[in-house]
Symmetry: C2
Subunit: 196 residues, 2 copies
DNA sequence: CGCGACGTTGATTTGCCTCAACGATTGTGG
DNA sequence: CCACAATCGTTGAGGCAAATCAACGTCGCG
């Protein structure tokens, strides 16, 4: 249980609350280690999301699908990020998002059934997940603002600056769908960029 | 302390957790009742947000300001909604948003200093605010999706359907800035609408 | 090898913006 | 209580960012 596998997640949650050793072990014991190969679909729209997954290794993506079949990617999750539809998970309602693996990945999953038990047994945990929600909310607010106030070119530059490794790990048309533009247009933006 | 003034907020939080009478009273005692006249600025970008305000009566708005001075409204908060910059409040960082009163309003405010005390004294409260964050997050996700996948006309129709009273309470150019379009263009959309 | 996924490029179209001018309504100080 | 200025919504002409559609080159992989 003290495997190196859990070093990352422990490091991350203990930045939110100090957690006694015994509670830590209880927490780790509730996790399912899941190896998912590239292209695995973990969640499909219409299903109820029954997990929150911590990305230990690899890269995941969540996205919506509009009525024309166009994707809108909500999030890329690389090492140390969580992926889930937290709303569907908490309220038991069908999700509207898809979650898939972009690389062979190792996940640490908390399942729906065990979440309430954990909250009961580990008092500091509500706080950990409340802070995770806060970070999510802040990021989403910034993104909405950027989407409405900045042109695509600046949004692209901002993403590159924050996640310089992203283009090496995910296909370009998915970055386009994250930016809210077509793959063709992103290609033209890039062409303009190198021209300067 | 059992005034009618608190009926709404008690009704709302008790939908999240059952809270014993004594804890309820402790919660209510921590609230500051605040009467704010129309046009009051409760928060300006650059300040640290030190409150979460429950709208008991009236209407509030939060918004960003871009570098050209254009507003992007984040939220309209009428009766039974919360307004705040929860991220700034929780992390003590300067906010990027403005909050102002669109009508004479009555607010119930929780202040930054008292929040931690309340979490300590009222075990169920973490849960209440975690659920508030969840609702916020869900709403924001839906909005981001709509902004990226739907044309302005459908976004406008969707807002009207969900908040039919909104146009009676807030100026049209603010609805435009909520939709992410210019006031002029919203006006033209409306003209097209009645033509049909 | 051959097929599918991916990125690029060009021609054309369109959704929305900018700027400017113009009524109508509100509210405010003299 | 009126006068005048803001504030607000509307309309039109013109422009630009980004979408659409289509064709084409290039990989990586079964």
């Amino acid at each position: 249980m003290n495997e190196e596998r859990y070093a990352r997640i422990i490091g991350n949650i203990s930045r939110c609350t100090a957690m006694p050793y015994e509670q830590q072990q209880k927490f780790l014991a509730a996790l399912e280690v899941k190896q998912v190969p590239k292209k695995t679909q973990l969640l499909r729209a219409g299903e109820v999301c029954d997990f929150e997954a911590y990305v230990n290794k690899g890269c995941m993506r969540s996205y919506f699908l509009d009525e024309h079949g166009h994707e809108v990617t909500l999030q890329f999750a690389t090492e140390d990020w969580w992926v889930s539809d937290v709303v569907s998970m908490a309220e038991g309602k069908p999700s509207r998002i898809f979650i898939e693996a972009l690389e062979d990945s190792e996940l640490l999953c908390i399942h729906r059934g065990k979440k309430e038990d954990l909250y009961r047994d580990i008092p500091g945990l509500e706080r950990v997940f409340r802070m995770m929600l806060l970070r999510n909310l802040g990021a989403l607010q910034d993104r909405l603002f950027a989407t409405m106030a900045w042109p695509a070119e600046e949004r692209y530059a901002a993403v590159l600056k924050r996640f310089p490794e992203l283009p090496n790990r995910v296909p370009q048309h998915m970055i386009a769908s994250y930016l809210g533009i077509t793959p063709e247009f992103l290609s033209k933006l890039r062409a303009r960029r190198v021209a300067k």
